[in-house]
Symmetry: C2
């Protein structure tokens, strides 16, 4: 499978009080189109990854609405939703539609507007990704991931300081990213002194609530040339139970293991072949577990490896979250999966500026919904496809 | 394109107070699987069409939840949303994923649970399919379709009695459908005497609020044999502006015209080749306009043709809404697009019982979201594919 990435763009992520969802979408789409050199009329279909437009915005025809903003009358448009993996799932369906021969060139938009609402509304809305049983027992997502962190720390004898290194790395990376919500480095001490959210997770172990939109233009039309080609060579999705209580392990996500194994198999690549990865670090524990599930670290050694700099820019081997990840870059949930593609594309083109990973040829994105109830894995490669 | 339909099922549609969304999904999925002769483990992916689980049920990871009910661990699962066309859009993406070679055999579920909520909640939730501008001016969907009806009646000199014939036909058809929400015939007088909802639309011009789930198992795996094969030979989607105020015409939906033209072109078929069709008659006016947009009737003659019995079982040429349509069968919004496929499959297999259309070989489904902001058209054919 070879899908060419022709254009990418992302808005700044953050508390964007002064922009509407439509305006964010327009900015991301028009910039991605500009980079691709294409006009709206050359786009065959639109895929929108979004979680909360219905719950928070009472808008349940979002893809048609965004199609109006794109300015291509009658274009087929779809909203794909799978909680915080909505962006990755939208991309997966977009890729399938191209490989089916149904469309040639499509635009995939990830979009979320969260900060216009109260903390209570946002907490309630985000709980919509969870299981009824865990919600009824009062668990919110920080609580669910705190249980995973407790299990991980006990099982592998890991302390809170080691876990905190995930946030420290991602804030360091975010300090090089002008689109990141937080651009200042933090220390392990900062994380340790930040307020407890759900023991052992503290405020600086958690990704923020954010607004943002990201867009990619992808195609298999070989007549459209790209100056710095990047191709998507694998797209795999898998699910798991919504509730942790139904799973064999709290310290591994079967959805991620299954989808990434399929992606490695489809490409013949091994985890060691991945130069750079964007990881769904909604909490520090998420990235520690993710790097193990993806095969970048041995079981129980993810947090330790991260704390030793093995996944840090300029010194690590597999650079994780060069963008700053969800932690520093921000987490507008439907946009995240597409922002990851934007970041890896820049890394593989060598256009990531101050946060450029050295000699990055192959990259991976890891986008998770709920506490691992769904995962989307994409593998990208520098160089042209179909040629 | 040839996608085989291996199994179909639908729950009864109606006010299903005593069943949860999970139970409805389980019933539809297990019956569709039973008909296909397949086990859950033989399903490669799950697509769920649903509009309101987020807004009304605060559930935003629905596809993963339904995957649990299906009982196939780690299966890729997607929720596709496009207002009342969610079912048709889910099927379109499912078909693309098969034609891409990504999956071979997939299950598509349409699901909606509406009646557990107050009228106010439902009205507000359904307005989520509309444009901000029309909502701000106080328009709900009956109001929007009433404007279309007013324009249609003036433009073509059609009276309310003629429009009422749509509901009379669909209730007549529904009287043969044990799964329909309403199974009693009505007269033009009944429609005329029913309370005004939005002039000129009366209660019996409007489809009801309903619960229900429908499922289809589709595949391109030629090793799986079906006793009464039916194939999907076209799947096309198009959009339009959300608001009527942005459109050139109130009496035609450009999304339907565009998608159906593509479907006819893809198959080499003409409107006259369609023997049986399921039409998105959310209001009586919708079907009058639809049969014109689909080419079954000349402009301005849709309501008249229906009133003259040209689309009625046992006497018409192009039988429209043999199931009873949204009007009599019920309209659980996300399920409707899949129920249409279930009905046309039965018609083409010749297993539709008392509501069997004579000699039906080719069928069409017409699924619309919002007031035409999105439309999905599918064409089905009796007989096996890939053989």
């Amino acid at each position: 499978m070879k899908i060419n990435i022709l254009g990418t763009a992302t808005t700044k992520f953050g508390e964007l009080w002064d922009v509407s969802p439509r305006e964010m979408a327009r900015e991301a789409m028009s910039n991605a189109l500009r980079e691709s050199g294409l006009k709206p009329s050359q786009i065959d279909a639109l895929f929108v990854g979004n979680m909360l437009s219905g719950i928070l915005g009472n808008q349940a025809n979002l893809a048609s609405l965004i199609a109006e903003e794109l300015g291509n009358p009658q274009i087929p448009a779809f909203r794909i939703e799978g909680a915080c993996a909505s962006g990755g799932l939208a991309l997966h369906n977009a890729i399938n539609s191209i490989n089916a021969g149904q469309y040639k060139t499509v635009l995939v938009l990830g979009l979320e507007k969260m900060t216009d609402h109260s903390q209570e509304e946002i907490t309630s809305a985000l709980s919509a990704a969870g299981s009824d049983e865990e919600r009824m027992s009062g668990l919110t997502f920080p609580g669910i991931y705190a249980l995973m962190a407790q299990a991980y720390m006990q099982q592998y004898n890991v302390d809170e300081e080691t876990l905190a290194a995930v946030s420290v790395k991602n804030h360091y990376h975010g300090s090089f990213n002008p689109k990141a919500q937080f651009q200042s480095p933090i220390t392990v001490g900062d994380v340790m002194r930040s307020p407890k959210v759900a023991d052992p997770l503290k405020l600086l172990d958690c990704s923020p609530v954010s607004d943002g939109a990201s867009a990619v233009v992808i195609s298999n039309d070989v007549s459209i040339k790209s100056k710095k080609p990047v191709t998507i060579i694998a797209s795999e999705v898998a699910t798991d139970t919504l509730g942790l209580y139904n799973r064999k392990s709290f310290t591994s996500l079967m959805s991620v293991v299954t989808a990434s194994e399929k992606a490695y198999q489809a490409t013949g690549l091994k985890p060691a072949d991945i130069d750079v990865a964007e990881i769904h670090d909604c909490f520090s524990i998420s990235e520690a577990i993710a790097v193990e599930d993806l095969g970048f670290a041995k079981r129980g050694e993810g947090a330790k490896d991260i704390s030793e700099g093995k996944m840090t820019l300029f010194k690590g081997k597999t650079i994780c979250n060069p963008s700053g990840g969800l932690k520093a870059c921000g987490h507008p949930v439907g946009a995240t999966g597409i922002k990851q593609i934007v970041e890896i594309t820049e890394q593989l083109r060598g256009t990531a500026g101050k946060r450029q990973a050295v000699d990055a040829k192959i990259g991976l994105t890891h986008n998770v919904g709920g506490s691992g109830a769904v995962a989307a894995i994409h593998i990208l490669k520098a160089g042209g496809g179909n040629s």
